[in-house]
C-alpha cells in the first residue's frame, strides 16, 4: 500500500483514544507503574506513558501473553472430555504508543509462530492487533536498533506511525490497510500533511556500532568457542529477565492445572537461560552450565534465526541489558564477538 501522510494535533489525542474505546476497540498502551512501565489496557490518554523512552516490558504480550489458556477439559469416569479454546476468540485491539522496535519485533514472532504448523493462538491475536508506534525522539546508551537493521523511525511492523514534528503536531504515517482502517476511526481529526516533510529531523540519532552481517557470520562460526561463551557469561546468574522483557523471545512452556474434575492447559513464557529448560527426565542436561545457555541465547538470535527464518531475532531495543540484574549488555557482547572472533 502507498504510504499516506497526515497531521494530527497533540490536543486531539485524547479524542482519538476516546473514539477507539467508544467504537469497541480495547487500547493497549504503556502505563507507569511505580518505577516501571507496563503495557496495559487503558481507558483514556491520561494513563498512557508517552514520555518514556521504552516500556519495561515489550509489547509482545499483545499477541503472546505471559499466561494463555489453550485448552479446557473435564474429567469423569469415562475419560477426559476436551473443550478446545477458540484461538480466534479475541477482540480487535489497538496497540498504542509503542516504539518502532516493539512493532518490528513482531516480525520475528510472526516468523517463529508462522513457520511449520502455524500457531493460531498467536497469529489470530496478531492479526487483530493494529500497531500504532511512536518514533523515538531520544535514545540511550542501551539502544542499538540501527545496528540490527532497525531505526528510531523504522516503520516495519507498524500499521500507523506517529512522529512528533512540533510542540503540538504529530506526523501520522498510514502504512498498511489495517492502519488505514484504524485511521478512518479518527479521520475527522486528521489534516493533510506536507509531503515534503522530513521526519528524520525529528528522530533520535542512533549510531551504528557493528556490522550485522559480520556479527551473524562470526556468531554462526562460534558454536564450539567455549572460551568465548564462558568469558561472556561468567557473571550471568541464570534468571529469565532478559527473555521475558525481550520483544522477540518466543520460547514457551505448557502446564496443566486442574482439580479432580476440571482443568486447563496453559501456555507460559519460558527462557533458555533457565537450567531446567533443557533438563531431561533422565536427569541429563545437554546444556549443563550457564555458558551453554548464554551461547544458545545469542546463537538462536544471531545464527539460527537468520539461517532458518531469514530474520535476526533482535531489534536492538536493549531491554535485556536494562533489565539484567548483573548488567550483561548485549550490545557490548555482540561488539566483542565482532572484534574477537576471526572467521
Amino acid at each position: 500500500m502507498e504510504k499516506e501522510l497526515k497531521i494530527l494535533k497533540y490536543s486531539d489525542l485524547p479524542k482519538m483514544i476516546e473514539k477507539f474505546i467508544s467504537q469497541g476497540y480495547p487500547v493497549l498502551a504503556p502505563v507507569h507503574k511505580g518505577k516501571i512501565v507496563e503495557i496495559e489496557y487503558v481507558q483514556s490518554l491520561d494513563s498512557i506513558a508517552l514520555d518514556v523512552l521504552l516500556s519495561t516490558q515489550s509489547a509482545k504480550k499483545a499477541a503472546f501473553p505471559k499466561v494463555e489458556k489453550v485448552l479446557e477439559y473435564t474429567m469423569n469416569k469415562a475419560g477426559v472430555v476436551q473443550h478446545p479454546v477458540d484461538p480466534a476468540d479475541s477482540k480487535e485491539t489497538i496497540l498504542f504508543g509503542v516504539r518502532p522496535c516493539d512493532a518490528s519485533g513482531f516480525k520475528s514472532l510472526d516468523a517463529i509462530f508462522g513457520e511449520g504448523p502455524s500457531d493460531q493462538f498467536y497469529l489470530s491475536k496478531k492479526e487483530k492487533t493494529t500497531i500504532i508506534s511512536f518514533s523515538c525522539p531520544v535514545a540511550d546508551e542501551y539502544c542499538f536498533c540501527t545496528s540490527v537493521g532497525g531505526g528510531p523511525g523504522n516503520t516495519a511492523g507498524s500499521d500507523l506511525q506517529f512522529t512528533s514534528v512540533s510542540k503540538d503536531e504529530l506526523l501520522v504515517e498510514i502504512l498498511t490497510e489495517k492502519g488505514k482502517k484504524a485511521s478512518r476511526i479518527f479521520a475527522d481529526l486528521l489534516t493533510e500533511a506536507n509531503s515534503a516533510i522530513d521526519k528524520t529531523k525529528f528522530i533520535a540519532d542512533v549510531k551504528v556500532v557493528f556490522d550485522l552481517d559480520s556479527v551473524v557470520a562470526k556468531t554462526t562460526a562460534s558454536f564450539g568457542n567455549a572460551e568465548l561463551w564462558l568469558e561472556q557469561s561468567l557473571r550471568c546468574i541464570g534468571c529469565g529477565a532478559c527473555a521475558f522483557v525481550c520483544p522477540t523471545c518466543a520460547c514457551f512452556d505448557f502446564q496443566d492445572e486442574q482439580d479432580t474434575k476440571k482443568g486447563v492447559r496453559l501456555r507460559l513464557w519460558d527462557s533458555c537461560g533457565f537450567s531446567l529448560f533443557t533438563l531431561h527426565t533422565s536427569g541429563h542436561n545437554p546444556r549443563e552450565v550457564q555458558s551453554q545457555r548464554w551461547r544458545q541465547r545469542i546463537m538462536h538470535k544471531f545464527a539460527y534465526m537468520p539461517e532458518q527464518l531469514k530474520v535476526v531475532g533482535c531489534e536492538g531495543c536493549g531491554r535485556c541489558s536494562r533489565a539484567c540484574p548483573v548488567d550483561m549488555n548485549i550490545k557490548e557482547h555482540l561488539t566483542a564477538i565482532r572484534e574477537q572472533v576471526t572467521v
Binding site: 489458556k69 479446557e72 477439559y73 473435564t74 469423569n76 472430555v81 473443550h83 492445572e257 486442574q258 482439580d259 476440571k262 482443568g263 486447563v264 496453559l266
Partner: protein
C-alpha cells in the same frame, strides 16, 4: 438465604490429636461436621505449603493440631513446628493473608472434649468472618471454574 457453612480443614498429627478426635467420636461427643480431618505423622511434617493448598482449594478455615509440648511421639517434632508457626503467622499476616482463619492447637489423645471445643469454636469463628472470598478470587480454579468448562 442459606446459612454459610464454612469448609474447615484440620491437619492433625497421628499420635495425639487424631487419637483425640477418635476419642471424641467414641465418647459420642457431638461436634460440627464442617471439619475434614487429614492425618499427618507429626505436626513437624505439616509444611506451610500444605496450608496454602487448603486455602487454594476452597478452605475457609484451617486447624493445625498436634501433641502438647514434651508429648511428641518423635520427641521434638512439635517444638520445630511451633517455631515455624511463629514465623509463618508473621509472614502471612504481613502478606495480607487472614491469619485468624488458621487455628493452632495442642490436643492430646485424652482430650476428646477439647477437640470438640476446638472444632466448634473454630467453625463459629469462621462463620462470623465469612467465606474466604479474597483468596478464592485468585485461586487457580478460577481458570477453569468459569462458564464453559462447567456443567459437563
Amino acid at each position: 438465604m442459606q446459612e454459610f457453612e464454612p469448609k474447615i480443614v484440620a491437619f492433625v498429627c497421628n499420635w495425639c490429636t487424631y487419637a483425640g478426635a477418635d476419642l471424641t467420636g467414641t465418647s459420642r461427643i457431638k461436634y460440627s461436621a464442617n471439619v475434614k480431618i487429614i492425618r499427618f505423622p507429626c505436626t513437624g511434617r505439616i509444611d506451610f505449603m500444605i496450608l496454602m493448598k487448603a486455602f487454594e482449594n476452597g478452605a475457609d478455615g484451617i486447624i493445625v493440631s498436634g501433641c502438647h509440648p514434651n508429648d511428641c511421639h518423635y520427641s521434638t517434632g512439635n517444638f520445630h513446628a511451633r517455631r515455624r508457626w511463629i514465623v509463618l503467622r508473621n509472614l502471612l499476616n504481613f502478606a495480607g493473608i487472614e491469619t485468624d482463619r488458621i487455628q493452632f492447637s495442642w490436643v492430646s489423645a485424652a482430650e476428646g472434649f477439647k477437640w470438640a471445643d476446638v472444632v466448634n469454636n473454630t467453625v463459629a469463628a469462621i462463620k462470623e468472618i465469612g467465606p474466604y472470598e479474597n483468596y478464592r478470587k485468585i485461586a487457580v480454579s478460577t481458570l477453569f471454574n468459569e462458564e464453559g468448562a462447567s456443567n459437563e
